[in-house]
């Protein structure tokens, strides 16, 4: 994020943040839908995409959770998946607050 700001200012950082969260909710939704139908490919694809984009923004905790989700989906190991998706959801909320602070949007 700091690198993005250096390169394109706050405007770019905000644009990347907004498209990241728009994509993240779609991916999480898709992972939950995949989990509901036991579609391992859909879950793995969603986790894969979310891992890449969160790592790009430096959200390493989310990236690690997604990596675990992708690996488990590849093994069709769904036992812990719901819990994992909830954890990603919580991390996303935290990351959003942290970004708002970093971008000077909190009062």
């Amino acid at each position: 994020m700091a690198r993005l700001r250096r390169w394109g200012g706050d405007g770019l950082a905000r644009a990347m943040r907004d498209s990241f969260f728009a994509g993240a909710s779609r991916r999480l939704e898709s992972a939950r839908a995949g989990l509901a139908t036991r579609d391992a490919t859909e879950v793995a694809q969603a986790m894969h995409a979310l891992r890449s984009s969160s790592a790009q923004l430096g959200a390493l905790a989310i990236a690690r959770l997604c990596e675990r989700g992708e690996e488990e989906a590849d093994r069709t190991a769904f036992d812990d998946m719901k819990h994992l998706l909830d954890e990603i959801d919580r991390e996303l909320v935290q990351f959003n607050s942290w970004l708002a602070f970093a971008l000077g949007e909190t009062g």
Binding site: A15, M16, F20, Q45, A49, S52, A55, Q56
Partner: protein
Amino acid sequence: MKVLVVEDEFMFAELVQRGLREDGHTVELARSCASARALLFVREVVREYGAILLDVALPDGDGFQILRDLRREHRTTPVLMLTGKRRSADVVRGLDAGADDYLTKPFDLDELKARVRALARRGDPKRADRLALGDVSLDRDKRQACVGGRKTAMTPKEFAMLEYLLLRPDQVVTRFELLENVWDMHFDPGSNVVDVHVARLRRKLNHARLVSIETVRGVGFVLKARSGPET
């Protein structure tokens, strides 16, 4: 250079496009295998790209297949695979399918830009890293312009326009040619965008004693070398 970016994730697509445009490239974006195929194989007049940045995991298929199909048609456009797949088996698969380079996400934007420049050199072995006419020169890799012995800051469009003109010294370059190759517009927008940018570029070439941009009325522009001052 014209670059096709095949990437479904909006954030990456946006980031890559901005980075490449910053480097003076024109970018076309495909967000699925189907639209990439439409641009690469189905169009009546198939556009050739200077380079292709290809994501592996696309919503309707995988990028490896597009790459294999390109190579099957003996098309040698340099391809950089851009993907979150980090296992060496995936890298090997990409390179074996005919990729020229492979970059994993997350990536550093400066590294991506450098790799695209390297692809451009590979794609055109005759490409000169430095262009010069009189006392105006461009270092295409470092993106630096030098006018009358001074480093001169240029916007990406000014740089791309000067690069285009330096590749065609003493030739008339039409406004439409500049629109197509610098702005990637394949129609006349009916604005004076080219003239405005030429005026700005002329101002930046003020320090050049030996080069000028001349207007050919109703047609376009010529980058001309003047003879040096007599001593």
